[in-house]
C-alpha cells in the first residue's frame, strides 16, 4: 500500500473522493502554507487570510466530486482560493469609505522611462519587505494577482494561465507590465 506522503496530489484527491479522509488531511498539510501565503498577499491580514484558506479547503471538502482530473489539483485549489480572495477584496472595496485612486493605475497608464531623466546611480538595495508589500497592494487587480502568482508563489506561466483563465501570451505580457508598474510604484525609493 502506498503511503499518503508519497502520493501525487491527484492520487490523493482521488483517494479522498473514494472516502479516505486522511488523504484530505495530507492535501491540507501540503497546501495550507502556500495558500495562506498567497491569500495573505492579497488581503494583508493574517486572520482574514487563514479564514479564507479554511473556506477554500471546506469547499474542497464539500465539493470533492467537482474535481475532475483534467486539471492539476494545485491549479484547481489556487483558482478557488484566488476567486475567494478577489471576491473578499471586492467586498472590502465596497465597504471602503475613502478612495485609493491616487495609488491605483490604469491598465494603459504605463509610460516608459523618461530617457532625459538621469537614472544613473539609482540604488534599490534598500527595499524592505513592507514597502514591496505596499507596492503590490497598490497594483490594480489583474497585475496584483499575476505578481503574487508568478513572482511570490513562483508558479509556472502554464499554471497561471489555467488559474486565471487567460491565454499564456496574456500571462507573459501582464507579468512584464506588472513588474514595470511595481518598479514605478517603488521609484520613490530611488536615492
Amino acid at each position: 500500500m502506498i503511503e499518503h506522503n508519497s502520493m501525487s496530489d491527484e492520487q490523493l484527491i482521488a483517494e479522498f473522493q473514494g472516502g479516505d479522509e486522511r488523504a484530505f488531511v495530507e492535501l491540507v498539510d501540503r497546501y495550507k502554507d502556500r495558500l495562506v501565503n498567497f491569500v495573505y498577499r492579497f488581503l494583508n491580514d493574517m486572520t482574514d487570510a487563514e479564514d479564507l484558506v479554511q473556506d477554500t479547503f471546506l469547499k474542497v471538502y464539500k465539493k470533492k466530486h467537482a474535481y475532475r482530473e483534467i486539471a492539476k489539483f494545485s491549479t484547481w485549489i489556487y483558482t478557488i482560493a484566488g476567486n475567494l480572495a478577489r471576491s473578499e477584496l471586492r467586498k472590502r472595496k465596497r465597504r471602503k469609505t475613502y478612495t485609493m485612486s491616487d495609488l491605483s493605475f490604469d491598465d494603459n497608464e504605463f509610460n516608459p522611462v523618461d530617457s532625459d531623466k538621469d537614472t544613473e546611480g539609482i540604488v534599490f538595495n534598500s527595499y524592505a519587505g513592507e514597502e514591496i508589500m505596499k507596492a503590490i497592494d497598490a497594483l490594480p487587480e489583474p497585475f496584483k494577482s499575476i505578481t503574487i502568482l508568478r513572482d511570490i508563489q513562483e508558479l509556472s506561466y502554464e499554471d497561471i494561465s489555467t488559474i486565471l483563465d487567460i491565454p499564456m501570451g496574456t500571462v507573459k505580457s501582464r507579468v512584464n507590465r506588472a513588474r514595470l508598474k511595481l518598479q514605478e510604484t517603488l521609484s520613490y525609493l530611488r536615492e
Binding site: N37, F124, R179, Q183
Partner: protein, 170 residues
C-alpha cells in the same frame, strides 16, 4: 524615437530574464542595453525587485490550522445531511407524498369501515344500557355481547388479594 525604443526594450524584460527571447531579439536587447544607461539601470532595478520578491519571508499557517479545519469540516458534514435533505426539492415532494398517503389511507379506511353509529355500513348495534342497573347487578362480572368477564380473586400474590379478569365465553 529613443523613447519608443526604450519602451520596446522594457517590454522584453521578462522574456529576456526567462531567456525565452529569440536570438535575434535578444541580441537587439543586448545591443540597446550596451548603449542606453537608462534601460540598463531599469533592468538592474527590476532584477533587484524580483530578487526581493522571491526573498519575502514566507507566511505560515497557524499550528492548529488543520485541527480547526477538520473540526469545522466534521461539523458542517453532520449539519449538511439534514440541510441537504431540507433544501433539496425532493424533501418537498417527499413531504407532499407522505401527506397525500396519510389522507388517502384515512379516507380509504373511512370508506371501507365508516366509524360511528348511524352509518349505513355500520357493524355496530346500538344498545341502550342503564349504568345504574349494571352497577347494581354487578356480580363482579361484565357482559360484552356473548362474552363475559368475571373478576375473581387471584393467586398471584402471597396474600391472595389480587383480582384477575377471567374471560368466560358463553
Amino acid at each position: 524615437m529613443q523613447n519608443n525604443e526604450c519602451s520596446y526594450i522594457c517590454e522584453q524584460f521578462t522574456e529576456y530574464q526567462d531567456q525565452t527571447l529569440s536570438m535575434k531579439i535578444r541580441s537587439h536587447v543586448d545591443a540597446h542595453l550596451a548603449i542606453c544607461s537608462s534601460c540598463q539601470s531599469r533592468f538592474q532595478e527590476l532584477d533587484i525587485i524580483l530578487d526581493r520578491l522571491h526573498q519575502l519571508s514566507p507566511i505560515m499557517a497557524s499550528p492548529d490550522f488543520t485541527e480547526k479545519l477538520m473540526h469545522k469540516a466534521h461539523q458542517q458534514s453532520t449539519e449538511s445531511v439534514w440541510e441537504r435533505f431540507y433544501q433539496s426539492p425532493y424533501s418537498r415532494i417527499a413531504g407532499f407524498a407522505v401527506a397525500a398517503g396519510l389522507v388517502a389511507a384515512i379516507g380509504l379506511n373511512i370508506w371501507i369501515e365508516p366509524i360511528g353509529p348511524g352509518s349505513s355500513n355500520s357493524n355496530f348495534t346500538e344498545k341502550k344500557i342503564n349504568p345504574t342497573a349494571v352497577y347494581a347487578n354487578r356480580p363482579d362480572s361484565i357482559g360484552l355481547g356473548n362474552d363475559s368477564l368475571q373478576l375473581q380473586p387471584g393467586k398471584i400474590n402471597s396474600d391472595g388479594s389480587v383480582l384477575k379478569l377471567v374471560s368466560d365465553k358463553k
